[in-house]
Amino acid sequence: MATIETAITLLIFVPLIGAIACLVGQRKILKQVTIMTAVATAVISLILFIEIAGQGFIDTRIFLPDDLGYLVEIFGAIVALTFLYLGWRTRSILVIAFSIGQLAVLSTILLTPGSETSFFLIDTLALIMVMITSIIGSIIALYSLTYMRNDPRRGVFLAVILAFLGIMNAAAISNDIRWFDVFWSITTLFSFLLIGHTRTDDARAAARLALIINTGGGLALLLGARLMMHYHETYLFTDLPIGNMTGLVLLPLAFISIGAFTKSAQLPFQSWLLDAMVAPTPVSALLHSSTMVNLGVFLVLRITPSLQGETFFSIFIALIGGLSFLITSILAMTQSNAKRILAYSTVGNLGLIFMCAGIGTPLALAAAVILLLYHAISKALLFLAVGVVQEGKMSEDIEDMYSLRRDMPLVTLSIFIGIATLVLPPFGMFVSKWLISETTTTFPLLAFLLAVGFASMVVYYFKWLGILLTSFTGTRRPLREDVSPQSYRWILGALSAGAVAISALVGPITHYLISPFVAMEYELPGLTESLSIFTVEGEVQALLILFLVVLAILIISLFRRRSRDVTVPYGGGEEVIFQAGGSYYLSNELVTKITRIGNLIGATLIVILVIIPLIMEVF
């Protein structure tokens, strides 16, 4: 127990101390500090994992002194005041309004303290979040060391990134919504700082938009917290009543969900995440795909037990998620900027998670957590790879990546692995895709959203991958002679290996990490059977796949040995010099139109989400 407590404390404070050192230290110690902090964080999180695994993945609660609670809330007020200042600086009435609202709600929260002691809850979901943040986050911190090497304000950048890791860890284990809100607001602040880091006009505008939407979301979350106290007399997620709520008591959950939608950039709030892609790539990888935006879905996963039995309400959460997935998948096909494609697909994947949380069956919840985990790794890998390409080719456009395999085989391989683990069976995401699809039988409308969404996902990913892979036989450099810098190659290699390994381990991970979380919510002992691919029928499948893969390798080796002669591309007899162009299918007007329609439907759904509890109360 003591080890866990120390590890948790260290996981929060080590990155923060590293951040302070980066801020105040000299330029030349930056490198050592960052490396040390990152390695320490990763190692501590591993120790934490081993410790918890040793205890059989039971939930750990760390109780906190009450005085600390006041301190944190005062901290929250300071953050809100900072927002107020930023609102004034960026000339944004909305931010000012939101932050004043936040301050008002905060003060009423201060006046109505909860009766129970708050505690940190480390269940497997929190553990997964902490592991993602600490390990992937550390890798990304190391990456930004190289990526930002020519930046004059590198120290600030690294400090914010490191501090973010600590805050993220704290948020993931908070069980008290007041605490959670404070950490959440701090991530909003960091996100604002990092998006605006380059200080170009685009960056400023994007940062401002992110600030507006996220302070709005923060206000919704705080309102939710206040209402939670009002209706349920608790600030703790674990003390929320389970299931079968109707009427006004659902109102706090509606507000909390709205907060979650803004953070996870669901329709109609997706624009901030798309614009945030102007930020340096490590920021996109860390905050805007693998960790911070996960806070939203994390929050909804925390409240799903309360939504049980009340499908009429939760189905709207599922619909918003499903809609986000569908619309962003379609829009991603029309993009040629790799980062923008990834941003759209991030929104889409988070939408999928919301959908699962909204459906709320055990299978769906398992799918949600699997998605959360695998999406984080693969997306981080993809973003980092795009960052490397961007540095080498000075472009993020997928058309400029034509025949990337020739010069950057390793980077191409990691993009391949990233996409494969996101889309193709038998990797981790495939399992969740499968589970999601099975769960839609309870609500077929969602299956229609999924059907087109999945197909579009295939189109936009493989269109991109195809362009990368184009090359003549024998023109490719050997893997180890990839032209990108050495440190990048190590990082990409490590992440790719990690992504593959963790995909291969999907069985145990589901069994040990995800089933306990789902079982905790549902108390279903038999659940693990239905999840595992090691059932009787699953065994046949597994054996068969194994057998056929062996066969496959035999066939391939047979064909490999055959002598192959190289020919020229067919061009009706002409010599062809070919440069791939993309096909994007939809015109710009159509893209605007679809976005507008999506936003409209999304906004309507959100309004409905708030109205439903009122209606229920009346009838």
Partner: protein, 147 residues
Amino acid sequence: MGLLDKIGTKSPWILHFDTGSCNGCDLEIWALLTPKYDVERFGGINRANPKQADILLITGPVTMRCEDRLRNLYEQVPEPKLVVACGNCASTGAPFHNCYNVCQGVDKVIPVDVYVPGCAACPEALIDGFVRALSLWEDKARRRESE
């Protein structure tokens, strides 16, 4: 491999290339695909793609401009491959003999297996040439293996 080579004669895929003919022979070749002559009886279909073709039906005297193209296409056809020169021009350049801009026959550019005479070569003669070319198939395949 013997069996596969035998099977090969049952599925000759065609590439038809016009190297500057008067279109007379082309029309006759297209007639092969019509109900009346129907070379699909022998499994032949027009793939229009050198990479997947087995028999090249070449018409025309091979103009200078076509020379490189013809060679390019020929090189893209995987072994074993057969070339049928269809019509007088493809065989010898006849009507265009000694013209300043022609190579005077397909065999000046690529090796030819069967010559089908006629101006234009009638469909029956073309089918005859086609079938004769097929009889050379096994030979070619065997020679390729021994190499």
